[in-house]
């Protein structure tokens, strides 16, 4: 009851504040340095409801956002993806790039009072995550030895140098799990899974399924004086329109990722009580594209695919379908991901050039003005992707290509795309900060695996691209990696294995009273130990 009262009171304050802030002069005033005082409750939307909060066992988006406050990783990354200390206070890399030594913070404790030590790190990375976390397994399988030199020093010895090794230690890539709770148990059946125990600034208090998850301040947190907030409520609101209303009325103070539909963004952006940012997704850096099955005619012809790049106006897609969110993509690497190469072939929006390429490839106009027919399987992820499908159909028709739209549900979509039963579809893939982690997987030929989603489902093969990606992952010299990745990007952009559309941006709406929410490349998945509320 008292919770509810507090909740209502906060909503009222939020509304009053919203009214007070409505004057533009106040809006543009520079942020005055306010003392970072303790106290305050933050309500954050979580959508969909996570199945479990143990980050080592489940790494879905919503789980990351909630559990990121409970668990921690050894490192985090700034907006330029440079490693920053978290549970590791310092680290060293040997000159041959094979030995990584981490010094841990000495005063960190698990929520049940046990100290956090090197044994936990060794257990997490060499045992538990190897079994439960596919992305971590791919990275730590490259380690020959993981050992604790003393209670606060961990050494990873790799079989061979691995470029993005230091990019793999943020909280969702490698969450630190408590050895004393999980070692020797059946991880998935451990009774402690209902009450997650981490080292983070917030402790698990209560979870009312279908309604909210309540986290409270960890008074024994290892960073002195932090966190500032008293508690965080993650509220489950399944309906998109209700989520937008909750932001408008100020009953929630933060939304992230896809919580707010693109068409609501322009309206909510102009609200006086919240601030919108698209920062804090640099680590994920999703890139959307038209996936092209290069096994099928006429899509097997490079010139046909290049014509598609010219026929589609990506600025229009960004402005009219994504309501201004995102940047037109130039190639396979998102410009915020490491080793992005800007000097690649440019495909301007130019239907004439597209038609010339189609002519050259031998696709002449028939009597009905049609050069070729292809099918487009629309991704069943909501209204926005449907609009995109309709746009692509019209844009291709303008250059004489007849596109038939097909619809399906999400299970059907995954099934058809992963089994190569499609001509064209849409897709977007996270890049995780490094081409070796999130880019090469969709272009290298040894990842053409039937039945596996987000692999090279296009069936694109180019031995030179394979070689460049392999070589770039096996070195940790940044200049050398840049050269190899630049070469790979130039070839890919020439070959157009997929028609890249947008470097996608997600809107994060944060109540203006809450400061320091988005400070790193993992944005809303951060621990929030330095978030504070400005009180009036």
């Amino acid at each position: 009851m008292s919770n509810r009262l507090r909740y209502i009171r906060q909503s009222l304050t939020a509304a009053a504040l919203a009214a007070a802030l409505a004057t533009p002069a106040l809006l543009s005033a520079p942020t005055v340095a306010v003392a970072q005082e303790r106290g305050g409750t933050m309500n954050i939307i979580v959508q969909p409801e996570p199945p479990i909060l143990v980050l080592g066992l489940n790494q879905q988006g919503p789980t990351q956002t909630v559990a990121g406050k409970i668990y921690q990783g050894l490192l985090t990354y700034d907006f330029n993806l440079k490693p920053q200390p978290e549970l590791a206070e310092s680290w060293e890399v040997s000159p041959d790039g094979k030995v990584y030594t981490f010094k841990l913070v000495k005063n960190a404790k698990w929520h049940d009072g046990k100290p956090f030590t090197a044994a936990d790190v060794v257990f997490s990375t060499s045992k538990m995550l190897m079994e439960t976390h596919p992305r971590a397994r791919a990275v730590f399988a490259k380690a020959e030895k993981i050992e604790a030199l003393d209670d606060y020093t961990v050494r990873f010895t790799l079989k061979e140098p691995f470029g993005p090794f230091l990019q793999s230690f943020e909280v969702s890539s490698a969450p630190m799990m408590p050895k004393h709770i999980y070692d020797g148990s059946d991880y998935k059946a451990n009774p402690a899974n209902a009450t997650p125990i981490g080292t983070g600034p917030f402790k698990f208090k209560e979870w009312v399924k279908g309604s909210y998850i309540h986290l409270v301040r960890n008074d024994d947190y290892w960073k002195a004086g932090k966190p500032y907030l008293d508690d965080i409520y993650f509220r489950v609101i399944p309906d998109a329109a209700s989520r937008a209303v909750a932001v408008e009325q100020g009953t929630v103070q933060q939304t992230q990722f896809n919580d707010i539909e693109t068409f609501d963004v322009p309206r909510l952006k102009s609200l006086p009580n919240v601030e919108m940012t698209t920062k804090g997704y640099e680590f994920f850096a999703p890139l959307s594209w038209i996936e092209i099955n290069t096994r099928n005619k006429p899509l097997d012809d490079k010139r046909f695919r290049q014509a598609m790049m010219h026929a589609i106006d990506r600025k229009f897609i960004r402005d009219k379908i994504w309501f201004g969110l995102g940047r037109p993509a130039t190639g396979p690497v998102n410009s915020v991901t490491r080793f992005y190469e800007p000097g690649v072939k440019k495909y301007d929006f130019d239907p004439k050039k597209a038609e010339a390429l189609l002519e050259e490839a031998g696709y002449k106009k028939g009597s009905d003005g049609t050069r070729a027919k292809v099918k487009l399987l629309v991704m069943p992820y909501g209204e926005t992707w449907t609009r995109l499908g309709e746009y692509v159909k019209q844009a291709m028709k303008r250059v004489g290509v007849d596109v038939t739209l097909e619809t399906t549900d999400s299970a059907g979509w995954v099934n058809r795309v992963s089994n190569w039963d499609y001509d064209m579809t849409f897709n977007f893939v996270y890049q995780y900060g490094d081409p070796a982690l999130g880019v090469s997987r969709t272009y290298v030929s040894d990842n053409i695996r039937k039945g596996v989603m987000f692999s090279n489902t296009m069936g694109y093969t180019n031995p030179e691209v394979d070689r460049l990606f392999a070589q770039a992952a096996q070195t940790n010299k940044d200049e050398e990696r840049q050269q190899l990745y630049s070469a790979a990007q130039k070839i890919l952009v020439e070959d157009v294995p997929v028609a890249w559309l947008l470097e996608m941006e997600f809107p994060t709406f944060v109540d203006k009273r809450f400061k320091n929410a988005i400070t790193t490349a993992i944005g809303v998945n951060e621990s929030y130990d330095s978030v504070y509320m400005v009180k009036k």
Binding site: F263, R267, K320, E406, T407
Partner: protein
């Protein structure tokens, strides 16, 4: 022959029209319906480009220069969409009703004419369909067979035939024992001939009336399916237009308003016409109802 003798007045065109025209609403409905049909026929002349073409700037309000009724998110002309959508709505409404009438009347006729265990079997089968909520069944059918023109027409037909079957059965049962039918039996006509030539023509009027109302229901069903995104993605239809506009209703009211009005008026017109037909074809009923 025998059929014509029983109610001679019904066969007279003038009598039918007088009865129909007595219902002012029905005439109004018919006029409006004719306009919709003309619009559907001449959609290509009125709006020569495809309704999917982006001909205007996005979000143009109504009465702007290049879009009479405004344009949508991608700059497609709402007026063109309504004209071309009329085709889809009418096409689906008429064909699915035709299929439903075919199924319903065949089953109803067999059931009513033969009676006994045949009747029992057919009616239990019909009830099976009647116990499942119409719309839910239609959604499931379209989702399973992937949305396309054919699957939508069939789904609507499959959920709409049971009332027709029951109606036809009732008519056949009552006419089965009439003298003209017995006379036909004595003269040695085959069952099929009796069903087809004797009873069916005499039971047509209530079937026509409910079929005309069913066209309206079918158009609504199609709109609801498209609204939920289960329409044929390559066909512009009114329900699709309302569904696609729903998300931007606060930015662009006209996107959902005009197609919505088109659905409303067309369905209303069909209902008025159906009522007029009812008056004209069942004069006794109508007079009783109006007294």
């Amino acid at each position: 022959m025998t059929a014509a003798v029983i109610t001679p007045s019904r066969r007279k065109g003038s009598g039918f029209w007088r009865a129909f025209a007595r219902n002012k609403g029905a005439v109004l409905g018919l006029v409006f319906l004719l306009l919709v049909v003309l619009m559907a026929i001449f959609a290509d002349v009125l709006f020569p480009t495809s309704p999917w073409d982006m001909t205007a700037a996005p979000f143009e309000p109504p009465f702007s220069e290049d879009a009479l009724l405004g344009s949508d998110t991608l700059g497609r002309d709402i007026a063109a969409g309504i004209a071309h959508g009329a085709r889809v709505s009418l096409l689906i409404g008429l064909t699915s009703t035709a299929v439903a009438v075919l199924i319903g009347v065949c089953l109803g006729a067999v059931s009513g004419f033969y009676g006994g265990w045949v009747d029992d079997a057919v009616m239990r089968f019909t009830e099976l369909f009647q116990t499942i909520p119409n719309f839910v069944l239609a959604v499931v059918l379209v989702a399973i067979f992937t949305p396309s023109l054919t699957s939508i027409v069939l789904a609507i037909a499959i959920v709409s035939w049971p009332p027709l079957a029951r109606l036809a059965r009732g008519e056949f049962m009552s006419l089965r024992s009439r003298e003209f039918v017995q006379a036909a039996v004595t003269t040695g006509q085959s069952n099929l001939t009796i069903i087809w030539r004797q009873i069916l023509p005499n039971s047509l009027s209530p079937i026509i009336v409910s079929a005309s109302l069913m066209v309206a229901t079918a158009i609504l069903l199609e709109s609801s399916l498209s609204f939920l995104g289960l329409g044929d993605p390559n066909l512009m239809s009114w329900g699709y237009m309302v569904g696609a506009a729903r998300t931007v209703i606060r930015q662009a009211w006209w996107m959902s308003f005009f197609p919505g009005i088109a659905i409303l008026l067309t369905v209303l017109a069909l209902n008025l016409v159906g009522e007029g037909l009812n008056d004209a074809l069942n004069p006794k009923l109508a007079r009783k109802g109006r007294a």
